[in-house]
């Protein structure tokens, strides 16, 4: 049971949107798919869903090609949210679930459960256009997982949501993963990815620049952060051996170092400059890795 993307390439005329991307997601895993705008995430998703055929390469789900015959096993939340604005929430969800081969009665029961869980049971007979954007998002998520797919693809599931709703949707997605679903999702929010995913991959201009478990990715990045909180000017330490980068913070500074020896050096040097209130060696955040890999243009 796995999603397997092998050397998928998609060309539109002379433009290569996705270039030789390989990806393997095991059953029950949650995979974070990162990339700047226009990096080729949506095109990759569309190829996985069979909406677009790859120019070359193979994509399979459980060893089989993904076709409309397998559509009941797959759920999709597109980046551009799409629901019928004038249709009632329940009718709409039933319709979309039926298209994925879910019996009507079962769909209705599940819809009631989900609306209850998202604390919006009274929306069942409302038109979608009457709902706020955040609430439409909830309906959109329900539409993607109502029919209990074993592979769920979420393109930017949390964009435009307030923190309370983000938590609500996150826990729903985590529960769904626990029930055995394989999930691929993309996001611009690194903290969400860091919190939810086992594995990540980073896409840049159609090419896969990084892939693996979060721990491996961080380890292989080979850089750590040193955070120092103290009064006084720390910029003199920028030339210390092993320091790659320096950033002033409101109560001290953040150094990026290449190895742990540099941390000890920074500690002794900073103590000479004054009283150190706080000293910590931190793992690099995904955001830093992303920026380092994809470039400062995206931040």
């Amino acid at each position: 049971m796995a999603l397997n993307v092998e050397q998928a390439t998609k060309r539109f005329g002379n433009f290569t949107a996705v270039d030789n991307v390989s990806l393997k997601v095991e059953r029950g895993e949650m995979h974070g798919f990162l990339g700047a705008n226009g990096a080729g995430k949506t095109t990759t998703f569309r190829m996985i869903l069979g909406l677009l055929n790859p120019s070359s390469g193979q994509i399979s789900w459980n060893g089989k090609a993904i076709t409309y015959a397998t559509s009941p096993e797959i759920g999709y939340l597109p980046e551009e949210r799409g629901l019928y604005p004038k249709m009632k929430v329940e009718d709409q969800l039933v319709y979309l679930a039926e298209l994925r081969a879910m019996p009507k009665r079962e769909a209705k029961r599940e819809i009631a459960n989900w609306l209850e869980r998202f604390e919006v049971p009274h929306y069942a007979s409302k038109k979608v256009e009457e709902l706020s954007k955040g609430n439409q998002q909830k309906i959109q998520l329900i539409a993607s997982l109502l029919h209990k797919p074993s592979l769920l693809i979420l393109d930017e599931p949390f964009s435009g949501l307030d923190p309370v709703n983000v938590e609500m949707l996150k826990s729903a997605i985590l529960d769904f993963q626990q029930q055995g679903a394989t999930i691929v999702f993309s996001s611009h929010r690194m903290d969400h990815v860091e919190e939810l995913c086992d594995d990540i991959s980073i896409l840049d201009k159609g090419k896969m620049v990084l892939s693996g478990s979060i721990r491996d990715v961080k380890r292989s990045f080979g850089k750590q952060n040193v955070r120092i909180k103290m009064d006084g000017d720390l910029s003199v330490l920028i030339n210390a051996e092993g320091v790659d980068n320096y950033k002033k913070t409101h109560d001290g500074a953040l150094f990026q170092i290449a190895d742990e020896a540099a941390a000890q050096l920074l500690l002794t040097e900073s103590m000479k400059l004054g009283a150190v209130r706080h000293f910590a060696i931190e793992e690099p955040s995904l955001e830093e890795i992303f920026i380092a890999k994809v470039g400062k243009a995206y931040a």
Binding site: Y76, G82, Y84, L99, S144
Partner: protein, 415 residues
Amino acid sequence: MHSFWIIFKQAFLTKATTKSFIITTVIVCASFFLLANMSKILDVFQGEDEDHVLYIVDESGELAPRLQEQLQLADRDIQAVPTEQTEKELKEGIVADTVEAYLVLEQGEELTARYVTKSANELENGSNIEQAVQSLQTILTAEKLNLDNNQVEQLFAPALFEREAVSESSKSQEELSQARGLVYILIMLIYISVIYYPNMIAMEVATEKSSRVMEILISSVSPVKHMFAKIAGIGTLGILQMLAFGLSGFIAIKTAGTSMTEGIYSVFGFADVKISTFLFAVLFFLLGYFLYAVLAALLGSLVSRTEDVQQLMLPMMLLIIVASLIAFSGISVPEANFVTIASFIPFFAPLVMFLRVGMLDVPLWEPLLSIAIMLVTIGLLGWLGARVYRGGVLMYGSAQSLKDIRKAIALGNKK
């Protein structure tokens, strides 16, 4: 196949339950009843009219009753009343609206009459009175010449005048005028439905695209299935609506009690309706619908916003309008060359070939050939439409034009 029916049902029900659709259907059905009972309704209004009073200034005193005779013979509701009033008094009466009209009659060598009313627009009574005066004059002259009634009748016996067409394919003049009204109405219906229902489809597709629900739909079912299920759903809706129209029209005529072959209805030619005309109408309605529906779905799949639908539909609308122009102008000359040629051009055929089979006795192979051409065209368009649709529904951009068809095909391509 299951998902086909779900989309079919959805396309059908969402349209069938919209207020505008229900209201349109009800209004059209109601107007049939109104039309069928038109003569009764007219009677109600006319029944309350009193007879028109026409004052006669006649010095001899003999002419007024004889004019009245003529008016009654011609079945006019005008009372000729002799009066002693002077013309001056009568004119004042007209100005004061107490007198509707008066007639000054004088008998010299021949009859002279002067008809005076308030407004010159009042023509109908005027010409009726003129006819009555004319008849009176004839009778008076006949009396002068000592002709008896028989001789007068002979004098005015009408000539027999009949039209006959020699061409083999043409129906006799009588048949033609009977067919014309019905064919006209049916062409009108086909014309309206090949505009109305395909437009519905284009709007539906564009709405699904602009609300972005399309991406979810076509990740669940294939775009081709989605397109044809939609066309079938709206098509069924169209057939049912037309059936409702036809049925209410039929019931309206039956219950109206007036014979539809008389009076104003004789123009429509319901007297001698051939069942084959209706069968051809249904057939050409279906073919025309599918032809234009596939085209509309193709065009609808290219736009990103519903506002752009009309712009992209324009070429298709022009095709339909040209077809209707040929058909409507061909009603008076169904044998013209341009009509014959147009009846084999697939986009014109639904209207024009129907016109020909309705108006002429064309050999059967001609409509069959035309139908075959249309079926092939529908097949080709369906194939092309499916390819464009597959890519078109994924395409979002600002400016849409027909050039995008190539882009859409490239996007939907296998490789």
